[in-house]
């Protein structure tokens, strides 16, 4: 079986779509300060949704058949509320820290620990309004095919103001996660990000790059309130 590798072209689209989504998820909390999303972002979102097969919400209308018509040759298709590839639609409720989430094609992915602020030696100094956060991640490929993972390409943080944050550059930015995951492989590692002090954080996974689902994880706070 051939190893499946990351595809560069899909990542940017997810980053934008995911950031917009995460903004809404974070925005569901009443105690956040008001954030006015620029019109540009909304326009981008509209474009992204239109271009993303799994993100549309419009059901394809069934074949025209009036209530008074005679029997049709075949049953009209029922509408679906979630058309397209469901891997493109991330979870509506973020996974909590400590949860190992089973994702499609055999992936087991979870944030096992968040260290904030992270004060490890060797990290360059940051401006006073920023701090490091360490996110410990567990990844297991329980699928049937090997997959190559580049963690920088698939994971990113977003803060409550809608800004995205990639892992810091250099070897300390990602440890323990990159490489080929043969079936049955488990790796645990850490990603380090520089983020604004005091801002709530989510982590976004561009799942389709590794042939699984787009996913959202709680980072800080570590749990999401129940959505009943």
């Amino acid at each position: 079986m051939d190893a499946r590798t990351s595809t560069y072209s899909r990542a940017p689209r997810f980053v934008l779509a995911g950031f917009v989504l995460a903004g809404f998820v974070l925005g569901g909390r009443r105690n956040l300060r008001t954030v006015r999303t620029p019109a540009l972002v909304m326009a981008l979102m509209a474009g992204l949704l239109a271009g993303c097969s799994g993100s549309g919400s419009t059901a394809k209308p069934p074949s025209s058949t009036s209530g008074s018509s005679t029997t049709t040759a075949s049953l009209p298709p029922l509408p679906t509320t979630t058309p397209g590839n469901p891997d493109e639609t991330p979870n509506r409720i973020p996974f909590d820290v400590g949860e190992i989430a089973a994702r499609s094609n055999g992936w087991r992915i979870g944030v096992t620990r968040v260290v904030r602020p992270l004060t490890a030696g060797g990290l360059p100094a940051l401006p006073g309004d920023r701090e490091y956060v360490g996110v410990d991640i567990s990844m297991t490929n329980d699928g049937s095919a090997p997959v190559t993972v580049n963690a920088r390409r698939i994971f990113g943080l977003q803060d409550e103001t809608g800004h995205g944050h990639a892992a810091i550059s250099g070897a300390t930015g990602v440890t323990g996660l990159d490489g080929s995951y043969a079936p049955g492989t488990n790796r645990t590692g850490r990603m380090v990000f520089a983020v604004p002090v005091g801002k709530k954080l989510l982590m976004l996974l561009d799942g389709p790059v590794i042939h699984t689902q787009r996913s959202i994880f709680q980072i800080d706070p570590p749990t999401h309130p129940v959505v009943d």
Binding site: G23, F24, G27, G28, R30, L32, R33, T34, V35, R36, T37, M42, A46, L49, C52, G56, S57, T58, A59, K60, P61, P62, T65, S66, G67, S69, T70, T71, T72, L75, P76, L78, P79, T80, T81, T82, P83, P86, E88, N91, R92, I93, F95, E99, I100, A101, A102, R103, S104, G106, R108, G110, D142, S144, Q213, T223, H224, V226, V227, D228
Partner: protein, 400 residues
């Protein structure tokens, strides 16, 4: 076959129109402002019943039998403004309140000190927002939970359909075909306080064939998990007393695609019955991954799966059966809109016979739509309340 074709065609058309209405924009989606006796209503809250209520609202908006203002317009506000929900939802204005766009571009509710346009996400959030509303921006709420202590009579919970939560197994399962008991289910999902090992870890301990059970569970924060614990596990917490090596693996609710092929014979998971059905019929995307509903009972003699025959309100019902609700406020909001409750209940409630009797949902007319969405309509019966005729709804019913 002929009747089925026509029925499905009509329902499909209704649902498709409903979806388009959900994407409503000021242009091309009906009037932007209603005048005179015509009013615009908006409903927010639960994601579980959003698509069903969108379908029912679409039917109400063109109804001539109960929507006697010809026509009031009901708009369903989605719980989120991301797929699979509409990115923005326009609510027409009326003489009570101007038009409003819910698109999450500003954090918060319209009733907040700093007003926003982000929809409330979930039943409890929707009910909180309904209670806070003073301008008719949220006229009533969707809820998959019943009333909490103290919420009635200020809030009126109209049960109008039944759902259920059950465990599921997969292709080649080692689980017993006859099903399991509630205590066995509890023993699968909890551990011994001393050993920290699962009380039941192998399917052959509960009447199945040998195979180490692989526990999957809806993610923390999901309503399905919450109900699974409170009802099916009788208040026990998932993985209670379990050590790190014996914890359940989380799956997104209503989505079993994370169950691996290798683990399917030994896997167990929880699924919302109505979602399972809706995914089976194509009303929603099929994410079941071959999940089959299990048989469950309080004893070995009453084990049964959820079905149209067992999801009901009788004493012999499926154990995981639950109501779903529409919720309105007894008091007008704003106070100047004295006819608000009566107008809303033409759609979701029941009035005295002299005042119109059951609304469109409670009159039973939309039972096929409810079924299409995967839920089970309520049978005709006493509505509850004072002086109300029989209907297919129940006002503030006790929990099942």
């Amino acid at each position: 076959m002929r009747n089925r074709s026509r029925k499905l065609a009509v329902l499909a058309s209704i649902a498709a129109i409903g979806t388009m209405v959900g994407l409503a924009a000021p242009a091309g989606a009906g009037p932007t402002v209603l005048t005179g006796t015509r009013n615009s209503f908006a409903q927010a809250g639960s994601d579980t019943t959003y698509f069903m209520m969108q379908n029912l609202a679409t039917a109400y908006n063109v109804d001539n039998t109960k929507n006697t203002d010809l026509h009031d317009i009901v708009t369903e506000i989605p719980p989120l403004n991301v797929a699979p929900f509409p990115a923005g939802t326009f609510v027409p204005g009326d003489d009570i309140d101007p038009s409003f766009l819910w698109d999450s571009s500003t954090v918060g509710l319209p009733s907040d000190v700093i007003p926003g346009n982000t929809p409330p996400n979930g039943s409890s959030a929707g009910i909180t927002a309904l209670n806070a509303d003073t301008t008719s921006k949220i006229d009533f709420a969707r809820s998959s939970r019943g009333p909490n202590s103290g919420e009635t009579p200020a809030l009126r919970f109209w049960a109008y359909a039944l759902g259920a939560v059950d465990y599921v197994t997969f292709l080649g399962t080692h689980a017993p075909a006859a099903g399991i008991t509630q205590q066995q289910l509890i023993n699968i999902y909890t551990c011994n306080a001393t050993t920290h090992l699962p009380i039941v870890s192998n399917w052959n301990q509960v009447g199945g064939t040998a195979g180490v059970i692989v526990k999957y569970i809806p993610q923390a924060g999901s309503g399905t998990r919450s109900f699974f614990q409170s009802k099916l596990l009788n208040g026990n917490t998932i993985d209670n007393n379990c050590d790190a090596g014996h914890m359940s693996t989380s799956l997104e609710e209503h989505d079993a695609r994370g169950v691996t092929t290798a683990s399917k014979p030994n896997a167990i998971y929880a699924y919302d019955f109505s979602k399972w059905k809706a995914q089976a019929t194509g009303f929603e995307a099929n994410l079941r991954n071959g999940a089959a509903l299990g048989k469950l009972g309080t004893t070995t003699s009453n084990r049964q799966g959820p079905s149209l025959a067992t999801v009901n309100t009788t004493a012999s019902r499926f154990i995981g059966t639950r109501y779903v609700f529409n919720v309105d406020r007894a008091a007008a909001h704003p106070g100047s809109y004295s006819g608000q409750l009566a107008d809303i209940e033409k759609f979701i409630g029941v009035r005295a016979t002299a005042n119109g009797g059951p609304g469109l949902i409670c009159g039973g007319t939309l039972a096929p739509n409810i079924t299409l969405a995967g839920f089970v309509p309520l049978a005709l019966g006493g509505s509850g309340g004072v002086g109300l005729p029989q209907s297919n709804c129940r006002l503030n019913p006790p929990a099942l």
